[in-house]
């Protein structure tokens, strides 16, 4: 694998680490299986790209993308809590609805950002090529957000959120408004995913309505793969596992695609993903079985 391909894998790995942190919040912390992310990832991209093309500055556009993602998460949580629609189904409804909404936002299936100023534009002044600087910038951002998320999950509200997913009856008995913590958690989760979408669009140079397909699988691959690698016992390790899982996943995919003897091509990506997630689910159990024997 070339250095260029490796740095590209890291860049994608850091972008999808944000998806992994979002999926970790919904799937692991709140124990809420949330497919909204397949819609909120392209939603973030669509909002950011459309606003940038319309002339808004890229930072405000990216912030607006996060807010749109939060709204999508709130909608799913609201349908589950107030309308009593099964959580998985509610998230599928939001995801499907977002496909149309994303088309409406962009006014067409994709928006190109060629020549537009993005949050990555200031990096050009540093003199190094973009394919080196972008992964570094994303890496720094991901680490800062990880630190903030760790702090949040260690706060009173964050602890209440973890109790909500783990034991809602106990949470309520201790005065936790579980509906509120679920709403906040789902908003936060999808805001992170939309941020990933917004950054992805700006680094790749376009937003596309189909770019969200399989986001949840990639997010889960990172969360589950990271757990298989680190066996996290603390929150800080669990979020580190999400990031590590995302990076390892992207590097493995790049290796598989670059290994000529395997004969794999870009269209085999989803097959590779399925095999990697399956391996991450099964291999730790096989290891334990041998240890017990």
């Amino acid at each position: 694998m070339s250095l260029f391909a490796f740095l590209g894998a890291l860049e994608l790995g850091f972008v999808y680490a944000l998806v992994a942190l979002g999926v970790f919040l919904s799937f692991r912390v709140l124990q809420f299986p949330d497919l909204t992310v397949d819609g909120s990832f392209p939603l973030g991209a669509a909002v950011a790209a459309s606003l940038i093309v319309a002339g808004l500055d890229p930072w405000t556009s990216t912030l607006a993308a996060c807010a749109a993602g939060a709204a999508a998460g709130l909608l799913t949580a609201w349908m589950t809590l107030r309308l009593r629609i099964l959580n998985l189904l509610a998230s599928i409804l939001t995801m499907i609805a977002l496909y149309s909404i994303n088309l409406r936002i962009m006014g067409k299936p994709n928006v190109a950002l060629l020549g537009e100023s993005t949050v990555l534009s200031p990096l050009a002044a540093l003199g190094l090529p973009g394919y080196v600087l972008t992964p570094i910038a994303f890496g720094v951002l991901v680490l800062v957000l990880k630190w903030l998320l760790d702090r949040f999950l260690g706060s009173e509200l964050g602890l209440a959120m973890r109790a909500t997913g783990e034991n809602p009856r106990m949470a309520r008995a201790n005065g936790i408004a579980t509906a509120r913590t679920t709403l906040v958690g789902m908003a936060l989760s999808n805001a992170l995913v939309a941020l990933a979408g917004a950054l992805f669009a700006q680094s790749q140079g376009s937003a596309d309505v189909t770019m969200g397909v399989g986001t949840i699988v990639v997010g889960l691959a990172a969360v589950i793969g990271g757990e298989a690698l680190l066996h996290p016992r603390t929150v800080a390790l669990a979020t580190a596992a999400c990031i590590l899982g995302s990076l390892v996943y992207r590097v493995l995919v790049a290796l598989a695609l670059n290994a000529d003897f395997l004969g794999l091509q870009a269209q085999d990506l989803n097959l590779i993903t399925a095999v990697l997630v399956g391996a991450a689910l099964v291999l730790p159990r096989l290891g334990r079985g041998r240890a017990a024997a």
């Binding site: 706060s155 009173e156 973890r162 009856r169 106990m170 005065g175 936790i176």
Partner: protein, 264 residues
């Protein structure tokens, strides 16, 4: 003072499975009183506790705690007033969280939770001191996941958690029933100590008539969704388990007579 006035609870109301669980319960509990509740399966003991906690909504009647009408309040809204320990040792704690995190959740019961750190050195010192009284060595294991503890240890911690901040009433729902006899005796002893120390108003459901007479100062028996009898003071002090059974038989007999009169 806690008051239940004419409480009616019906499960599956309006369906063929309609089941009146509480059928007009009146009960007033003076502050500081320790009441034990007995009754056969389906008598409505747990539902009585759930009405106080807000998990079961009465179809009729009023619940007031310290003069405040809480009938329409959800469990989390009245959590500042109500502390509880569940029958299942796994139900009162979060297995994936650490011992100190569980205690921190309980220390904020009934308070607004913000972005402050949930754990501080001050809180840890307080938790260590509270855990030390158990004599189980848990004060040195604050950062261990609580899922690593045995059922009895978890139930003892649940009890500490319930008593960590003041409440108007402590609800104990057969909290020793799932434990082995030795552990059950330990948790019960701890219960009596804590209740006496903090002068907690307590409602304890138990399946053991012996326990019902040995603990607290007043005993009520539930039967078919009503209070069959309510004894306290010297009358209760003179009772033994066989007397309790006789009292139960008699109250049941009287109920039957009443029904017979109505039907006649």
């Amino acid at each position: 003072m806690i008051e239940l006035a004419d409480i009616h609870v019906t499960f599956n109301s309006g369906t063929p499975l309609e089941n009146p669980v509480l059928r007009g319960v009146d009960l007033s509990i003076p502050a500081g009183q320790f009441i034990t509740v007995i009754g056969s399966n389906g008598a409505g003991k747990s539902t009585l506790l759930n009405v106080l906690a807000g998990e079961a909504a009465p179809a009729r009647g009023r619940v007031t705690i310290g003069g405040r009408d809480v009938t329409a309040q959800a469990p989390h809204q009245r959590a500042a007033l109500v502390a509880r320990v569940f029958q299942d040792p796994l139900a009162g704690t979060c297995g994936a969280l650490t011992i100190e995190e569980n205690l921190a959740l309980a220390a904020a019961r009934g308070r607004r939770r913000g972005l402050r750190a949930a754990l501080t050195p001050g809180l840890r010192a307080r938790f260590r001191e509270a855990l030390a009284r158990l004599g189980l060595g848990l004060e040195d294991r604050l950062a261990d996941r609580i899922g690593l503890l045995s059922g009895g240890q978890r139930q003892a911690v649940s009890l500490l958690m319930a008593a960590l901040v003041p409440s108007s009433i402590l609800l104990l729902d057969e909290h020793t029933a799932a434990l082995d006899p030795k552990t059950a005796a330990f948790v019960l002893g701890l219960t009596r100590e804590i209740v006496a120390e903090q002068r907690l108003t307590t409602l304890m459901v138990t399946h053991s008539m012996r326990q019902a007479l040995d603990c607290g100062e007043r005993t009520i028996m539930m039967h078919h969704g009503r209070i069959a009898f309510d004894v306290a003071g010297p009358e209760r002090a003179a009772l033994d388990v066989p007397d309790l059974l006789a009292l139960f038989e008699r109250s049941r007999g009287e109920r039957l007579d009443e029904d017979a009169l109505l039907l006649g």
